[in-house]
Each structure stands twice: as C-alpha cells, then as structure tokens.
C-alpha cells in the first residue's frame, strides 16, 4: 500500500531563493507526523506542494500514490492553510455545505453536525464567520479540512490562534483521527503539542530535513537525578540501566533515597540543538 504522503527529492526555488533543497519525507497510513523548523525553513512550502498549491522545481510528492495536485490526490486529502479565510457572510454550516459540494461528499447534514461537534462548534452552527473569534474560525477550518473523510490531513499551524482549551480539543481530535487510521502531517511551532501527539517528527532547516525520528528516538539521555537526604545529586553520564546501581551504592553509603528520575532531552532541546538557535 502506498504511503499516505510520499515526498522525494523535493526542490523548490523562488527566483534565487531555494525554499526546499531535496526533501524526502513519508507519512504512512494512520501516522501522525510533526513538521518543525524555524520561520522560512520551508515547512509551509512543503505542505503547499503536497496539496498542489505550489509546483515543485524538482522532485515530486504523491498522495496515496497519486501525484500531488491531481484530482485523485485532492479527493483523498484535507488541508488547512496557515493563513486562510472563509467568506464572512457564510454561517459555519454553509461553509461546510460549500465544501461538501466541492469535494463531492454525500455526508449531508449528518456529516456537518458530526464535524461541528468534533471541533466544539455545534452551538455556533448558524453563526456567521464574520461574527466568530479567530479561534472559532480556526476550529471551523479544521472541520472544513475533514469534510469528505480524507485519508490524509495537512494542517499548517492549526492551533496558532487557539486558547489552551481549544488546543486540547484539537489535540484530542488528532488522537481520535489517528485511531481511525487517518494520516496527519502537522506543521506547528508548538513543540510541546507535537511531542504529545506525533508518532514521528521531522525538523527542517534552510529547506532540508536535518533531524527526523520518533520523539523517543530523538530524545538523548541527560543523566540520572537522585533525590537523597543530602539533597539532589545529578549523575550526568549515567543512563537508565545505571539507576539501580547508583541507588544501591547510595543506600550502602548510608544515604536515604527519596526519588530517582532518568533525564532525557525534551523535544525543545532537540529542536534547539538541530536549528542552532535560528529563528528566521
């Protein structure tokens, strides 16, 4: 079975600027992949190529085996742009109805109701877009991307305008999507969120993937921390397997041990190491 999204040797140049320099990336069926990187790293360009908004200079992208941007590829994916807007005069229900017609969805009112409930907008069904907060519009954008039951979801900064409750709603939604076998490519600056929900992470810098793997693969050991009656001791070179020995030695030396924790680098630290502190 082809990958939900397969990107190979992707190059994109805007005049002299090289936005992508030979990117290879795959999102398998039911996988949730996080795309990280500083501003200008090429994340949005990659997502736009995947959904046919931008033409690659070299290389290509395929959605479930169909060339990106083709009718077959578009029929299998949903997309939420970083900067998007719906006509202000439409209600939430009308936005979804428009996209049902465009995607050929036969879900009807039942699908619209289900999607609005998924993003906690059931009460705002008849509210006009121009009367919605930015966060509500963003949740409506996610619902719109889910119209027609896509197999691949491309989300470009889907939580940038959401409050903590809204982010949690989206996080739970992403987890439920994974449970239904829907693949997601999540482009986000919110590292904690990516760390919480993503199966794999790819970090882009200057148009190239510099680090990729599961969050646990990327996390590096940073020692063992032991809390004793003399205070907290850090064994910087120690690993998880060393913890029993360290505790045994401390107890043998007459110390009282209250707690032990194995320290690993967070995704934020991995990210900062990968991009070298670059912000744009």
């Amino acid at each position: 079975m082809p990958a939900a999204l397969a990107v190979s040797g992707l190059v994109k140049r805007y005049g002299r600027v090289e936005a992508l320099r030979g990117v290879d990336l795959a999102v398998e069926e039911g996988e949730l992949v996080g795309l990280l990187g500083p501003n200008g790293a090429g994340k949005s360009t990659l997502v736009k190529i995947a959904c046919g908004l931008v033409r690659p200079t070299q290389g290509g992208a395929e959605v479930a085996g169909a060339p990106a941007g083709s009718h077959a590829a578009l029929a299998r994916m949903g997309y939420l742009a970083e900067l998007f807007r719906f006509p202000g005069w439409y209600s939430a229900d009308e936005v979804l109805r428009l996209h049902q017609r465009l995607s050929g969805s036969t879900g009807g009112e039942a699908e619209r109701t289900r999607l609005l409930e998924l993003v906690a907008l059931a009460e705002a069904r008849d509210r006009r877009v121009e009367e919605m907060s930015k966060g509500m519009q963003q949740r409506l954008g996610i619902a719109q991307a889910l119209v027609g039951e896509p197999r691949l979801l491309l989300l470009d900064e889907p939580t940038s305008a959401l409050d903590p409750v809204g982010r949690r709603t989206v996080r739970e939604l992403l987890e439920s999507l994974r449970g239904r076998g829907i693949s997601v490519l999540l482009n986000s600056h919110l590292l904690s969120e990516v760390e919480l929900v993503c199966d794999r992470v790819a970090i882009l810098l200057d148009g190239a993937v510099v680090t990729a793997g599961t969050p646990s693969e990327l996390a590096r050991p940073r020692g063992v921390e032991v809390e004793t009656d003399e205070g907290t001791r850090v064994y910087a070179d120690a690993r998880r397997d060393d913890a029993p020995r360290i505790v045994a030695e401390l107890v043998a030396a007459g110390r009282r041990v209250y707690g032990v924790s194995v320290r690993t680098s967070t995704l934020e630290e991995v990210y900062l190491d990968a991009v070298g502190g670059e912000t744009s």
Binding site: L74, H99, R101, S103, Q144
Partner: protein, 283 residues
C-alpha cells in the same frame, strides 16, 4: 461540471450578500430616473430646435440620447464586471479565500470557468435590462426606436463579458487594486481610440481613422460598442448619418460580422491565457 456550478453559485451568493446587487440596483434606478427626465425635456423641446436642412431632428436626438444611454449602460456593466472579478485569483489568494477552494477536487479550470460564468451571469442580464429599459424610455418619450433592437444590446453585453474575462486574466497576475486600475485604463484607452476615430472622421484623416480602428480591434470592447452604436442607426443615411458618425454618442463606423467573430476569438484567447497562467501559478 459539479464544481463549475458550485463556484457559479458561490460567486452569485458573494455578489448578493456583499450587497453588490443592492448598490447597483439603486444606482441604476437613479440613472434611469435621470435618463427619463433628459428624454422628457429633450423631446418636449424638439419642435423648437432649428436644425440644418437634410437632418431629421427626431432621429438625431433619439439616436444621440440613446447612444448616451448605451455608453452609460456599458460603463455601469464594466464597473460591475470589474468589481466581480478583480480579486478572483491573486486578491482572493492573498486574503486566504482561494486556497480552501483550490485544494478541492474540482480543478483550477473549473474554478476559473465558474468565476467567469458567475460574473457573466450577473453582468449580461444586467446590461440587457438597462439597455431595454433605456430603449423603452426613449421610445415612449420621443417616439423614436433604434433601427436594430436586439443586436446592439447583445453587443454591449458581449463587451462587458470581454471586460470580465480580461479582468479575470489580470487577476491572475495583479493585486485587486492594481488589476482594477489596469482594466479601467484599458477600457479608457478603448474609449479614447473611439473618440480619435470620430475626430479622424470629422477631419477626413484616414491615418487617424485607421489608427483608431486598429486600437478598437486590439481592445474589441470598443469595437463592439462602436458596432452597437452603428446598429441603432443602421438604416439612417445622408447628412443625418454623417453628423451622427461624428459621435461620440451617435452612429459609429466600425462594425460588422468581423468584429463579432474577432470578439469571440478574443474571448477564447483571453480565456485560454488566463487558464494557462492560473494552472501554473503558485498560490
């Protein structure tokens, strides 16, 4: 075709809910009211006007004032066509309205065709309605009717459809503001060419007339407008005809089947260019 129909409906809803129709209807009613007044007084005072021998005063007044109405109809139709299309591609893309539509499996060609048909679906009935309303006002006030009833109206509608197509093509490359300015300048350039043709006719300058004719074909909106003007006095001859051809609102002298065929070919060319450019454009 499902996508085209949906986009046509989307465009019509946009025009309706942004109150474009309401504003246009109000302005049109103002224009028609003023036009009725102009007809009423012009034809009431006609008997007191001394005209040179050989000139039919009623034909002259009727065709001149109706020519003025045709210009106004064209102008209002052009304004409507431009405002419905100026931001259809780049403008909507910059506002983030276009991307959610383009990523749906309808194809960019359907999207562009839908926007064009939506604009044409609004502009053509509008132009025909104003054209026939003006004709009825002039006919009832002055008992003068154009020599050709339907063809001039269709040509005006065709000119507005051409403007909508040119504006859509411009919207692929230009921001909404720049595109609006550019299309109005193209329209203005066509009008200037027409006026130069009238001056050339009065001065019997073949070079000026030829230049104006070439310009009218480069921008066939003007050629169609001139042909429409010519059609309303198609059966008028002699001195009256010559005076009317001096324009700017009387009978004109560029016209015929060639103009209409060229306009259709021009529309196809502009459409193909717009489609080619849109399918290659990064959004």
């Amino acid at each position: 075709m499902r996508g085209v129909g949906t986009i046509v409906r989307y465009g019509l809803e946009e025009a309706l809910r942004r109150k474009v129709f309401a504003v246009v209807l109000l302005l049109t009613l103002c224009f028609l009211g003023l036009y009725w007044l102009a007809n009423h007084y012009a034809f009431r005072d006609l008997s007191g006007v001394g005209v040179p021998a050989g000139i039919d005063a009623r034909t002259f007044a009727g065709s001149f004032i109706f020519g003025l109405a045709m210009f106004a109809t064209l102008f209002l139709g052009v304004v409507l066509a431009i405002f419905l299309t100026i931001g259809a591609v780049r403008g909507d893309a910059e506002r983030g309205l276009l991307q959610p539509l383009v990523v749906r499996p309808i194809g960019r060609s359907s999207l562009l065709l839908g926007r064009f048909l939506g604009a044409a679906g609004v502009c053509v009935p509008y132009v025909l309605a104003v054209y026939f309303a003006s004709m009825v006002i002039t006919g009832s006030a002055g008992h003068w009717w154009p020599d050709r009833i339907v063809t001039p109206g269709l040509e005006l509608a065709g000119a507005v459809v051409l403007i909508a197509a040119i504006s859509l093509l411009g919207s692929v490359f230009l921001t909404a503001t720049a595109n609006g300015i550019a299309i109005f300048m193209v329209f203005g350039a066509g009008l200037v060419a027409g006026l130069l043709g009238s001056i050339g006719h009065a001065l019997n300058s073949h070079t000026l007339e030829r230049s104006a004719k070439i310009a009218a074909y480069v921008i066939p909106v003007e050629a169609l407008y001139q042909d429409a003007l010519g059609q309303i006095t198609a059966d008028t001859h002699g001195v009256t005809r010559f005076i009317l051809e001096l324009g700017p609102f009387g009978g004109a002298f560029v016209g015929g089947t060639t103009v209409r065929l060229w306009s259709v070919a021009y529309l196809a060319l502009v459409g193909a260019l717009a489609l080619f450019a849109f399918t290659r454009r990064d959004l």
